[in-house]
């Protein structure tokens, strides 16, 4: 089994198609929607965690691409500007999946992209604008 956190960018003509149910039914994938948004211009944006067998996962993503949906990994959209971070730990209690974490010995803050669900809870709590999510 493999797990991937990805961002789907839908062009307007795909927004009304039942894409996700097809991923579940025909490719036997488990899909967890972390965020979903449709812009005023009717472009859609989904943040998903997809789990399934490696081959099925690849086939599913291939199918999505064929539809004209752009896919990128979530990590590219979430930025921790380490130079702006002061390691104050203001974000630590705000981050539900503990992607932002602190070494209690050194009190050094770190960001683990793989755990981030792009919930944006860190954005208003960081006084140094060190977190950036490009949505």
């Amino acid at each position: 089994m493999q797990k991937k956190r990805v961002v789907f960018n839908y062009p307007p003509h795909v927004v009304e198609q039942p894409v996700i149910s097809k991923l579940v039914k025909e490719f036997d994938l488990t899909v967890n929607i972390l965020r979903a948004r449709i812009s005023p211009k009717e472009e859609g944006r989904l943040v998903l965690e997809i789990t399934g067998k490696r081959q099925a996962l690849e086939a599913g993503i291939h199918y999505i691409r064929e539809l004209g949906v752009e896919i990128q990994s979530l990590a590219q959209d979430v930025k921790w500007h380490e130079d702006r971070c002061t390691h104050c730990t203001a974000c630590i209690s705000a981050c539900p999946p503990r992607a932002l974490d602190v070494n209690r010995q050194t009190m050094e803050v770190s960001f683990n992209r793989d755990k981030c669900i792009a919930c944006e809870a860190c954005i208003p709590v960081c006084p140094y604008q060190a977190m950036e999510i490009l949505f």
Binding site: T86, H87, C88, T89, A90, C91, I92, S93, A94, V102, R104, T106, M107, E108, V109, P124, V125, P127, Y128, Q129
Partner: protein
């Protein structure tokens, strides 16, 4: 045997001074014993790096040709208004000032992404900022408008002057209400969903000299990456609060007023800071050396996180309404562990003051002293202590009757 500042400086000059950080001294004294440690160690360095709102800087930008009198008019740096109630080309920029067209909290919670503190950070980064002004014009200062780029190196003086920094201990903030609140202690979740604290604890300058026996007017310090001086007690300096047996205040107590040459400072140690829904502030790096003059002074520097207690205060009602009272006492060891228990409830904690950076500051100051680049000063006068009779007064309003 007691040491003098002169003797310590002599050792610094010879490269023989023994310097430890306020963190290192704890284990050192535990191993050697307090008496021996007080003889062997010459200086303990402290540090803190946290948001300190009562900060700002004054500038002299030089005279334009023809001359302009900024006083009585309006002057801005990158659209942030400065205070001009001074001579022609002197002005003061407050850390929390913000552009007039910033929406503040009209779109709640406001972002406060740019203000005086960010201007200070950009200036010390060597960037150009826009100096714009309008004036009323006089016979000797005829010019009425000014628009120019300016950088720190163009100015005659650029002095950081903070009237309240380095608070000796602080509150732990929680929110008892059922909605999210946005405070200077950060975003507080309803029903005590989180607790925020703001002190460097065992590394914090005034917690290592709780009765102000070494720190006073003229104490040379690390300030914003450069050299600064303590110029007196800060505003709201309040030595007469409840203290532990060892003299450590259990609530906000002493404060410092400090100054230093901005041209020597670096953006790493003076940072523009934005508190959502609250405003702009400056995060200031301060490091203070404590001369180990005798055993008593060493003992104070041995303070540990678990010996420093702070009050848990509700920022939804108690704080804004000035209702005294604490929901409980917790120590910094508990706060730094990531969770505390208040009235039976376990609450996740977050800091606003960076312990990692506080340690880095104490270490830099230690290295400066070891390298013979930084000498200690004898204060001209110590700060008012518990015998000063200082009472921290609230504002007593006396209504102005309209005739």
């Amino acid at each position: 045997m007691a040491k003098s500042i002169e003797e310590i400086n002599e050792k610094i000059k010879k490269g023989k001074a023994v310097v430890l950080t306020a963190e290192e001294i704890i284990d050192f004294a535990a191993e050697r014993g307090v008496k021996k440690a007080s003889q062997e160690v010459d200086v303990v360095t402290t540090g803190t790096f946290g948001p300190m709102c009562s900060s700002g800087a004054y500038f002299n930008v030089g005279h334009s040709k023809p001359r302009i009198k900024l006083g009585g008019g309006k002057t801005y740096l990158n659209d942030v208004p400065v205070y001009t109630g001074l001579a022609a080309v002197d002005f003061f920029l407050g850390a929390t000032a913000m552009p007039e067209d910033d929406p503040r909290n009209k779109i709640y919670p406001g972002k406060f992404s740019y203000g005086g503190a960010h201007v200070i950070e950009e200036l010390i980064a060597g960037k150009d900022v826009r100096l714009t002004a309008t004036a009323y014009g006089t016979d000797c200062y005829p010019r009425k408008t000014l628009e120019t780029f300016i950088s720190l190196k163009d100015m005659n003086e650029a002095i950081l002057f903070n009237m309240r920094n380095a608070y000796q201990n602080y509150n732990v903030a929680v929110n008892l209400s059922d909605r999210v609140i946005y405070t200077y202690m950060g975003v507080l979740q309803p029903k005590m969903g989180n607790a925020n604290y703001c002190s460097a604890g065992q590394l914090s300058p005034l917690l290592n000299d709780p009765y102000y026996k070494t720190i006073g007017i003229g104490t040379r310090i690390f300030l914003g990456g450069g050299i600064g001086y303590v110029v007196g007690n800060g505003t709201q300096h309040n030595p007469n609060v409840a203290r532990t047996e060892k003299g450590v205040p259990k609530m906000p107590a002493g404060t410092l007023a400090v100054k230093g040459d901005l041209k020597l400072m670096t953006p790493k140690w003076l940072r523009g800071t934005s508190f959502t829904g609250y405003g702009v502030t400056l995060t200031v790096g301060i490091g203070i050396p404590i001369p180990i003059l005798d055993e008593e002074i060493l003992r104070y520097t041995l303070v540990k996180d678990e010996e420093i207690w702070a009050q848990v205060v509700d920022y939804s009602e108690s704080y804004p309404q000035c209702v005294p009272g604490s929901l409980g006492e917790v120590n910094y060891k508990q706060l730094k562990s990531g969770k505390i228990t208040v009235q039976g409830k376990e609450i996740p904690t977050s800091g606003l003051s960076s312990y990692l950076k506080a340690r880095e500051i104490a270490t830099i100051l230690k290295e400066w002293i070891e390298a013979g680049k930084f000498f200690l000063t004898q204060p001209v006068e110590l700060l008012p202590s518990v015998d000063s009779g200082i009472v921290f007064k609230p504002l007593k309003e006396r209504p102005i009757k309209k005739r």
